[in-house]
Structures are given as structure tokens and as C-alpha cells.
Symmetry: C2
Subunit: 197 residues, 2 copies
């Protein structure tokens, strides 16, 4: 997606150890126009990949919520965000899955209430980054635990050098990313539009 | 706002100790149509209150992000979500403020990078609940610390019996809420539309 690639080229910062800072438009501040367009682009790309009949979007708090919501608005289906800290409103019997945190260290638990993810659901999984694929994998496990059907995975930014795509190949669903970062060395961030060239 | 009031009447649950469960459409699952409409309603209500020239929305992760984003989309201004856990992408020199957590217990720290909240900003503060007003107060402190101007406060659900509105009166800005819960006793949740009679 051209607008996202250009934004990463302009504002993305390599903080070292594989960390790409995109706080100005994804992880701390959000651009309303870009965020809405990214949701619409996911819908177009999944339709082109033959993904149909989606009934729910799932993501993980915190940074997945914005792109998941704009995708949900474009598709007119609800979005469920997996919680990392169990609120007291979440009843016993929730589904849980674990993933390492890339930007905070340690292990995070992802929790979903069975009230909102049903065996009949056909689910799109949306998140901000596809890096090692471990958070996505944990969310896919939650979907399987609920008995729902995973139909596609969409991430804003893919870091191809962390090979998450390969790690998730066994899920056998379309993986759509809107910008692919192939390398980051010093100030040089090599990023491309997967829909071009 | 009629649609929100009706949804609370239909799906809201009193969990005791002042906790209103609205996980089906605010705190865990989001209804895309309702969430978009709530953002548009904030814009209409603040315009009616004479609030103009907004350049930024601020909210707190996690549950404030969705209504803040749809408000930002309706206004075409960026949204900044204060972080509760410092990501490694946030540089030293961030602004911080503390608030007690209503649904998780303990104290949470709210952090904003000075990169995204500027002294020239005219800010709308959007969150899911107005209860004791302490989270809103902490966000208002962050805005003041940045030197930005707070122009209005918008919350989806106000629990009038926790008197947050009174606590925030000294900020001297319009406070807009879309549904007001006046009491919760057993299964009886008394909720009204502040825009009606």
C-alpha cells in the first residue's frame, strides 16, 4: 500500500535489534485517514484473495485495535480484541494463549471470552506487525480453541527478515501485509509495497 | 444517544461494586456501526457546545482507542493514545501521570511522548467511561504538562453516582457523555440519554 510504504520511508526509525519505530502513525499516534484506508485496503486484498463470508475480526490489544476496527467498519462485522490483562468483567472459562512480547520483553497472555468468539464464526485476524509470527500464532490458537474458523491473516507491516510468514504457513490461509520491510541497517530501512513489482 | 442507551439496557450487566459490564460493544467486542456513530455523535455534540479548532484527540489505552479513533476519523485529526506500559519505542523525556485503575485495581501510569502532543494542540479528550473522573483527570494533567489546550471531554458512558463530572468541573470545559447511568441495583440499570428531556 503506497501511502503506508511512503509513511514508513519518511517517518519510520530503526531503533536496533529489529525494532521499527512507527509511533507517529501506528503505535502511539494514529493518522485517521491512513488508518481508515488501511482497513479498506485489507478488505480489498482479502476479497481479491477469495476470502468471503467473514463474520468477525480478531486482534490483540493494544496496537491491533485501530486497524482491526477500521477493517471491521469496512466489512460491517464486529471486532474482538484479545485482552492481555484480565479485566474483572471477564468471566471464568475464558480462552487463553501465550506469546512472547517483542517490544516489552517477557511473556504475555492473550485472553478471549467465549461469549464473543463462537464456533460458527469465520474470522479475519488483524494485527499491526508480522515479525516472528508468535503473537499471530497465539491468536490463531485462541480461534482454534473457540472452534471458530480462521480465514485470513492481515498485518500492516511485515518484517520479512523475521520469517513470520514461513512460521504461519501451516495455518494454510491467505496472509496479507500492506508494507514489507526487507532490511533495516542503520538509517536505511528497505521497505516495499507487496502489491507492486 | 438512543442507540447506546438501548444497547446498555439490553446487554449491560451490573457486576456489583459499581462495575457495569459492556464487554459486548465497548470493552472486548466492538460493534462497528455503533462505534462509528458514537464518534460522529461526539463531533455533533461538541460542535453544538461551541467547541471548534480541534487539532488532536487524546485517549488512554485500551478501551478508549476505539471511540477516540472514530471521533478522530469524523474530525480528520490525529489521535494519540496514552500508553500504560512503556514500549521500548518511547524515548526518555515522556510525560507521565498516574491514576487508580477502576477495573483492575492498583495504580496505572499514563505516558505520552512529547513528539505527538504539542503546545499548539487544541485537544479533545475521549474515553469509554466517566466514573470517578480520575483517569480523565490524569489525562488532563498530561495535556497541561505538554502545554496543550484541553477543549472538551467526551465519554461514552457516565456513571452519575460516582460524581466524576463534579470532580472535573474545575477544568472548565464542556463534558459530553452519550449515556448516563444514574443507578445500578441488582439487575436494574437506570440509564438515560442526556440529550433527551
Amino acid at each position: 500500500m503506497k501511502a503506508l510504504v511512503e509513511r514508513i520511508r519518511k517517518e519510520g526509525r530503526n531503533l536496533g535489534r529489529g525494532i521499527l519505530k512507527v509511533d507517529g502513525f501506528i503505535n502511539h499516534q494514529l493518522d485517521p485517514v491512513l488508518t481508515a484506508e488501511m482497513g479498506q485496503e485489507f478488505v480489498r486484498r482479502f476479497a481479491a484473495a477469495g476470502v468471503t463470508g467473514i463474520t468477525k475480526i480478531i486482534t490483540a490489544e493494544v496496537s491491533g485495535i485501530a486497524p482491526a476496527l477500521t477493517t471491521a467498519i469496512a466489512l460491517s462485522v464486529p471486532v474482538v480484541y484479545a485482552r492481555k490483562h484480565r479485566p474483572i468483567t471477564m468471566p471464568e472459562g475464558f480462552y487463553a494463549s501465550q506469546a512472547p512480547s517483542h517490544t516489552k520483553g517477557g511473556i504475555v497472555q492473550l485472553m478471549v471470552s467465549p461469549e464473543y468468539l463462537l464456533p460458527s464464526d469465520r474470522v479475519l485476524l488483524i494485527d499491526d506487525f508480522l515479525a516472528t509470527g508468535k503473537t499471530i500464532h497465539a491468536l490463531a490458537e485462541l480461534i482454534a480453541e473457540c472452534g471458530a474458523t480462521l480465514c485470513g491473516i492481515g498485518c500492516l507491516v511485515e518484517k520479512s527478515f523475521e520469517s513470520g510468514r514461513t512460521q504461519l504457513a501451516h495455518l494454510n490461509v491467505p496472509i496479507v501485509t500492506l508494507a514489507i520491510v526487507d532490511s533495516m541497517e542503520g538509517d536505511a530501512i528497505v521497505v516495499r509495497d507487496p502489491n507492486e513489482g
